[in-house]
């Protein structure tokens, strides 16, 4: 079941969607969400640019995506209606707030005629309700200004939707009480609106029948928590530092959609976390490098444009061989691009966006909860191999939510760091069997040494311009990164063991790809989905997997960046690209259709 809330960005649709999500999680449905909010937060009210949406997909089965086309669309004004109705499933339910359909509202949305009456909406089950008016009536004897009363309309709407899906009102009422603890009159008004909406739905039996989505069957036993990607990532970074036996240091600069990570980590000061909001992205990564030099685990979080600014310093971390976690929450590019939309177009920037031979391991998270595991993994690689690590997320993961089966604490495997302390024969560039260099932190007697951006002698660690030495150091840095392969598992294809088609995907295309492949597989096609978490180095054993399928396709929200990488690494196979660069995630349906097409090709 997929439902989308759409309205003006001032209408509180994000909030409505998030409340619906939270409540849905508590009744035990599996879910995934996809908030889609406008770039111009202050776009003129009522215009198409100002439309803000929130989509949630829930079901009693495992969910991998925030859904295909919604079957229910809530549209709070004409602009929201006109920009969203085409996505609604044929026969789907459209709940429209007719209170916002005056001449001038239509004009602001750039409409010449009223879509409610001109036939635009034929084929949908349209429910017209003057939600503005209903909300005002419900709050008639409340001591609030007209404006404040009208603001409660999103909770009235939420009440109606709760009725439709038989959701309990209590979680939201609790939330309101807490949220407006200092303004009980607002808590009361919103609660009233919520209840009124719910009762209204019941009273009018607005919808033909209403849906009951039963609890997820066979959900693995355990403790669950609803989590958004950015928060999971923040928690993962803190947990990762702990597992390394270190304290986290985050140097960052706000940028959509990565800012929440900095915001969330700023709250976690009682977990030995230091956060510094710096003057720019360069300072963000540089403080992190300084903190790592001093013996903390340095981290920096950003999005594509910020990653571009960090490149020179990332190279410094490569040559000084300091641990560092760099997070890029991808958004639409190039340049400022589509800051609030999703894309996977920073992969090659992450891989190659530095001067010189500067290999950096790259890993990518697939879902909101996977962001936790990947953040821990990034910390492991950074500290075990003394290297910067690039962790890729994206806007879809960052702002998406899902129920997260919490790991059992004792099962989280620590990877403690050992600092050098013995002056006997110390050299900053002596290495362990993984080729990771010594880490000696300032304050340790007898181990004073200098590191820096100039090439260093492989043995003494002093500046060296020797040609042979530079070749040797370049090879060592390369070999160290490639050696990470020994510590990562070979991913297994999901679906047919061998056969006609292998779909190789990475990052947040996980859900849609998995769903599309499962559907095709059920229809009898020998197809499988291989999802890559480690993009660099690529895990061992891929060659053998690729050899088991006749065709390989790589769907990506870019122009085929992983496909290019795979093509150059595995020239014996042909990797077909399937690109979508629209600021929107793939839908399972479109992937399935495309895969079917490829299967037909001779």
């Amino acid at each position: 079941m997929t439902i989308r809330f759409a309205g003006d960005s001032g209408d509180g649709m994000q909030l409505t969607g998030m409340q619906f999500t939270a409540t849905t999680a508590t009744v035990g449905n599996d879910l995934a969400t996809f908030p889609d909010f406008p770039a111009e937060i202050r776009a003129p009210a009522g215009t198409r640019a100002g439309v803000s949406g929130y989509q949630i997909h829930f079901s009693s089965r495992d969910i991998y995506t925030p859904g295909d086309d919604p079957s229910v669309l809530v549209a709070m004004n004409p602009a929201a209606l006109i920009t969203n109705y085409k996505d609604l499933k044929p026969g789907g339910i459209l709940l429209v707030n007719t209170g916002a359909f005056t001449e001038s509202d239509l004009k602001k949305a750039g409409l010449d005629s009223n879509p409610l009456t001109d036939g635009t909406l034929s084929g949908y089950r349209v429910v017209k309700e003057d939600i503005n008016q209903r909300t005002m009536e419900a709050l008639a004897d409340t001591e609030l200004s007209k404006k404040d009363k009208l603001r409660c309309k999103n909770f009235y709407t939420l009440g109606m939707v709760y009725w439709l899906y038989s959701r309990p009102l209590e979680p939201t009422m609790e939330w309101l009480k807490e949220k407006f603890a200092k303004k009980p009159e607002l808590a009361e008004a919103n609660t009233k609106a919520l209840k009124a909406g719910y009762n209204h739905g019941e009273l009018l039996r607005l919808f033909q029948g209403h849906y009951e989505v039963p609890k997820v069957e066979n959900a693995p036993k355990g403790t669950y928590r609803n989590i958004m990607g950015n928060e999971a990532l923040a928690i993962g970074l803190v947990a990762g530092a702990r597992l390394a036996g270190l304290k986290a240091f985050l140097g960052s600069y706000p940028i959509t959609p990565a800012t929440d990570i900095l915001q969330h980590m700023s709250l976690l000061k009682n977990y030995d976390v230091i956060t510094c909001q710096m003057e720019d992205e360069i300072a963000g990564i540089c403080t992190a490098i300084g903190a790592s030099f001093a013996g903390r685990l340095g981290m920096t979080t950003t999005s594509g444009p910020g990653l571009a600014l960090k490149t020179e310093a990332a190279g410094l971390a490569v040559i000084t061989e300091l641990p560092l976690v760099i997070v890029d929450v991808q958004r639409g590019g190039p340049s400022t691009g589509l800051p609030t939309k999703v894309e996977q177009s920073d992969l090659l920037q992450a891989m190659f966006g530095r001067n010189g031979e500067a290999p950096i391991p790259v890993i990518a998270c697939a879902t909101p909860s996977d962001a936790f595991d990947c953040a821990v993994e990034a910390c492991r690689i950074a500290t075990q191999y003394m290297t910067p690590v690039l962790l890729l997320s994206d806007n879809y993961i960052a702002n998406g939510a899902e129920p997260w089966k919490l790991p059992v604490i004792d099962e989280l495997k620590p990877f403690p760091v050992e600092f050098a302390t013995d002056p006997e024969g110390f050299s900053p560039y002596s290495r362990d069997e993984k080729l990771a260099r010594n880490w000696a932190k300032p304050g340790t007697p007898g181990l004073m040494h200098r590191i820096g951006g100039l090439e260093k002698d492989a043995v003494t660690g002093n500046v060296s311009y020797d040609p042979e030495n530079h070749m040797k150091m370049t090879e060592i840095r390369e070999a160290k990164i490639m050696g990470i392969r020994d510590s990562i598992p070979t991913p297994q294809p999901h679906g047919a063991e061998s056969g006609d088609l292998l779909v190789v995907a990475w990052g947040s295309t996980m859900g849609a790809t998995r769903a599309a492949v499962e559907r095709l597989h059920k229809e009898g096609v020998t197809v499988a989905h291989l999802h890559l978490r480690h993009i660099w180095p690529l895990p061992q054993g891929l060659d053998e997997i690729f050899s088991r399928y006749k065709k390989i396709v790589v769907p990506e929200m870019n122009m085929g960046q992983l496909a290019r990488l795979l093509q150059s690494e595995y020239p014996d196979y042909r990797f077909k690209k399937f690109s979508k660069v629209m600021g929107k995630p793939f839908r399972a349906r479109e992937l399935k259709a495309h895969f079917a097409e490829i299967l037909e090709e001779k």
């Binding site: 508590t26 035990g28 997820v216 959900a219 693995p220 036993k221 355990g222 403790t223 669950y224 928590r225 928690i235 947990a239 702990r242 240091f249 140097g251 976690l268 000061k269 009682n270 977990y271 976390v273 230091i274 510094c276 710096m278 003057e279 720019d280 360069i282 300072a283 540089c286 403080t287 992190a288 490098i289 300084g290 903190a291 790592s292 030099f293 001093a294 903390r296 020179e312 310093a313 410094l316 089966k405 919490l406 604490i409 989280l412 932190k441 300032p442 304050g443 340790t444 007697p445 007898g446 181990l447 004073m448 040494h449 200098r450 590191i451 820096g452 951006g453 100039l454 002093n462 500046v463």
Partner: protein, 332 residues
């Protein structure tokens, strides 16, 4: 921590051969810093020197301390990370007029306003030395350099004023050719708790020889500069017979007896700023010494205090607390 034995300047010499041009002003700054560090009573392993890129930024390699020769302009940001991560360290930034005021100008002003407890030594030779002689943000207008063959058109920064404007709590100036003066200034910087900004006039013999000689040469130095000493009268002149008198807005030359007493601890940076304006008046001596020295909480201290305070109220968080928050539910 090792026994706090009395360190000597030579303990701070690394085994690396110093590779500045013979006659470069950088040598005397190296000696000055080594001597200052030896006297600070800080264990040698607690010193960290961070530099950017430039001739001056080669500095850390010549020092037997922890050090990082980083990338162009970013030393202040890296040093901020070091100091905040471990406030027990004595953190020093070595930078040039290009490194610290041009490409790194942003980090410079922000580290000053945040009052990160670190010593920032800006080697001002009014030129890009390492890249062989292009004009810098402190090169005087009209000067011919490799990239301004017809004269530079860029108005220069006055580093002292930039630091004052950025809210620096300690601002001072000294020169390479007066080691004694340099030592007192470096010592004062070392003792300052907070960001200490020290501009050192440094002669680049190769690309900008004599840039400061009309103020620094022995023959004219006493006449053309005035050494500001906290609590003492502002006296200058070959015979130390002249003084500066100020009402806080205007500065006039007077007799030594009538000279005003210099106070770098004013709450307002105004007097220091007025003093730095003397640089623009060819009839006035240029101020040297400590222009400003005030006390303000440091960033590093506050960061740790905040961590302590939050931990105090919320309690030390465990991994379990981090993951298992109050909104969890069970699937049985």
């Amino acid at each position: 921590m090792s026994e706090l034995q009395q360190l000597k300047a030579k303990d701070f010499k690394s085994d690396q051969e110093v590779r500045w041009c013979p006659g470069c002003g950088d040598y005397s700054i190296l000696s000055g810093v080594q001597a200052t560090m030896a006297d600070m009573g800080v264990p040698q392993e607690n010193f960290v020197i961070v530099s950017g890129i430039g001739c001056s930024s080669r500095f850390p390699y010549y020092m037997e301390t922890y050090g990082m020769h980083s990338i162009h302009g970013r030393a202040n940001a890296i040093a901020t990370g070091v100091k905040v991560a471990n406030p027990d360290l004595s953190v020093w930034v070595i930078t040039g007029d290009g490194d610290g005021l041009s490409i790194g100008g942003n980090h410079m002003i922000h580290s000053l306003r945040r009052n990160v407890d670190m010593k920032i030594i800006l080697f001002n030779n009014e030129i890009y030395g390492l890249t062989k002689g292009q004009y810098s943000p402190t090169t005087p207008m009209g000067q011919r350099t490799k990239t301004s063959p017809y004269g530079s058109l860029d108005a220069p920064f006055n580093p002292i004023q930039l630091a004052l404007g950025a809210g620096a709590t300690f601002v001072a100036r000294t020169m390479d050719v007066n080691p004694k003066h340099m030592k007192t200034v470096l010592r004062a910087a070392a003792e300052h708790k907070g960001a200490a900004f020290v501009e050192v006039w440094q002669n680049c013999v190769i690309f900008n020889d004599g840039a400061f000689k009309s103020w620094t040469e022995k023959a004219v130095r006493d006449e053309e500069t005035v050494n500001l000493v906290a609590g003492e009268k502002m006296i200058f002149g070959k015979d130390q017979d002249k003084g500066l008198k100020t009402d806080g807005c205007k500065i006039e030359i007077c007799s030594a007896e009538d000279a005003s007493v210099w106070d770098p601890t004013h709450e307002s940076p105004g007097p220091a700023f007025v003093m730095s304006q003397l640089d623009n008046d060819p009839n006035m001596p240029r101020p040297m010494g400590v222009l400003r020295s005030v006390s303000r909480p440091t960033l590093d201290q506050q960061v740790w205090d905040q961590v302590g305070a939050v931990t105090g109220t919320k309690g030390e968080g465990s991994l379990k607390d981090l993951l298992y928050t109050k909104d969890v539910w069970e699937v049985k």
